[in-house]
Amino acid sequence: MTNPALSNDDLAMLATDFCGLNFQTPLSLLSGCVGFGEEYTRVKGYSNRDVGAVCLKGTTLEPRLGNKPHRVYETPMGMLNAIGLQNPGARHVVDEILPTLDFNETRFIANLSGSTIEEYAEVARIFDDSPIDAMEINISCPNVKEGGVAFGNDPDMSARVVAACRKVTKKPIITKLSPNQTDIAENARRCIEAGTDGFAVINTLMGMAIDIEDRSPIIGNNQGGLSGPAIKPIALLKVHQVYQVCRGHGIPIIGQGGVTTAEDAIEFLIAGATSVGVGTALFYDPLVCKKINAGIVEYLKRHDMSTVSQLSGSLQLNT
């Protein structure tokens, strides 16, 4: 038993379907926060079995060294990061890392990045021929000069990236949307047309912190992506907006941004998420997912619900 506090009946309440994948709990661990799937298992009591899926670090065609330090910095109720997609390249991930993962523990999702549409497609092709369960297209990374958010903020380009990946794989495609754009719903609409199976909402918001003695930005890359509780209200609204587009198509969302407690996760579910992402909160509490799972079960029981899917999209707007 890896979930000692929860009975098998409890666990059954948490199981959910995401793009045809069986998620054992509605939680997903977020790309960039959990390396390539094994890092957090260093911590006693942590288990990949506590989550429905683990999203691996953003991966490009060629290896990348990433940005110069400092790469992370605490800000009020959150943090800035500018890692710059440090990764060993798609080939290495598929050949050397995936074989070391235990696919019985959870679903593993690749996170794809590139500087050109062709690069995204090439990375998708490499992962297509691998045991990976799904692919998340990251068109919302704020920390690289080309691609990333530059694609994600342009609905046309977003759709083209999705279409190019769609052509080379039948595995589920999850498109990760940026909050740094004017009309996220329109972007979502275009990505659905281009063939996405799901969405991840939201990636980080762009921000800066300044060392007033040096008068220079603290983050080596000058700017970074803001995550953590500070962004939660923004993320919730974006999930709500994207859900309006998705509901008619049966397209699920991994809602994310600042989730720290079961209450936060429940808010995202109500707003329309099918799965809820946990990233920055792990840095403070590596065992947080057990607590969130238990809190969701307790809530479902208190509200006479038998499965977490009954919660998804149950928001009742004020009239």
């Binding site: 911590v43 060294l65 330090p69 403070y284």
Partner: protein
């Protein structure tokens, strides 16, 4: 079953504060009960500590001493920023969430029994841990040079342990190390009584120059402290062709290798690489980093 030796090596403990004392220069000595961390910590290990429940991030802090039997862990830290400022206000009897032990520790080389330990400011703690480790190893003859530009967080005492090459009058030592039989000398530019007035590396040079060639071939250098000091130590070590290990610091988010937020650029046979200070370090070979 796949071989996963890294699994379950880091504990999360609610650690009760046993003592917490302030010293000049915003320095604090903290002792907590954390038996799981104490049981497996090694010289060079650190913990990731929740300074205050209201902060979104933890702070990495080096371990200075542990008692495996009693289960306590000691830290020396400087209240520099917001997080450690809040930590300094935590009282005896309160609990801190600590994650540890983390990191690749110093590696001991018994072929080089003359270990030169150089600690600057809040870089002293890992050197004290290393001294305690080395003192019990047969044949090991460690010597520690500690530097500080604020008053030392202990009352120095004149050393009774003699060393070659140390200038006259440089007699101040750290009592704890002295009690262990590990010779130490203190350095500062502030003119503290009995301390060497100059840089730690200049004092090290006095000692190295007084050794015979054979003795010098038995020296290994370990260092922790501010970046410019480490750079100077690395330069000294390369000048004397001595192996040198340095312990680095960087801002951290996860401290388990998951975010790549804490990297340092290192030289490898395949060109430059970015290594995570938290799990690939914090200890690196000096020639890789400088």
């Amino acid at each position: 079953m796949m071989n996963k030796p890294h699994r379950d090596t880091i504990s999360v403990e609610q650690a009760e504060i046993i003592s917490h004392d302030a010293y000049d220069g915003d320095q604090y000595l903290l002792r907590v009960m954390a038996p799981e961390v104490a049981a497996t910590a090694k010289a060079g290990s650190f913990v990731h500590i929740s300074c205050d429940p209201m902060l979104p991030m933890r702070r990495p802090i080096s371990i200075m001493r542990v008692d495996k039997d009693k289960g306590w862990v000691d830290f020396l830290y400087k209240a520099l920023g917001y997080g450690t400022g809040l930590l300094s206000k935590r009282q005896v009897g309160e609990h801190l969430s600590i994650m540890g032990p983390i990191g690749k520790p110093f590696s001991v080389d018994l072929n080089r029994p003359r270990a030169l330990l150089i600690g600057g400011g809040v870089g002293m703690p890992p050197m004290i841990f290393l001294a305690e480790t080395l003192k019990s190893l047969l044949g090991s003859q460690p010597f520690a040079i500690l530097g500080s530009e604020v008053p030392f967080p202990f009352t120095a005492k004149p050393s009774t342990l003699m060393l070659p090459g140390i200038p006259d009058g440089v007699i101040a030592s750290m009592p704890l190390l002295e009690d262990w039989g590990v010779p130490s000398r203190l350095a500062s530019l502030q003119g503290y009584a009995g301390c060497y007035e100059g840089y730690v590396t200049d004092l090290a040079r006095h000692w190295l120059d007084a050794l015979t060639v054979e003795q010098r071939n038995e020296v290994i250098v370990y260092a922790c402290g501010p970046h410019p000091m480490l750079e100077a130590v690395a330069k000294l070590a390369s000048e004397y062709q001595l192996p040198c290990q340095v312990s680095l610091e960087e801002f951290m988010a996860c401290a388990v290798g998951g975010c790549a937020g804490c990297v340092v650029e290192v030289k490898t046979d395949n060109g430059p690489a970015m290594k995570r200070v938290c799990v690939d370090g914090p200890v690196f070979n000096a020639e890789q980093v400088f």
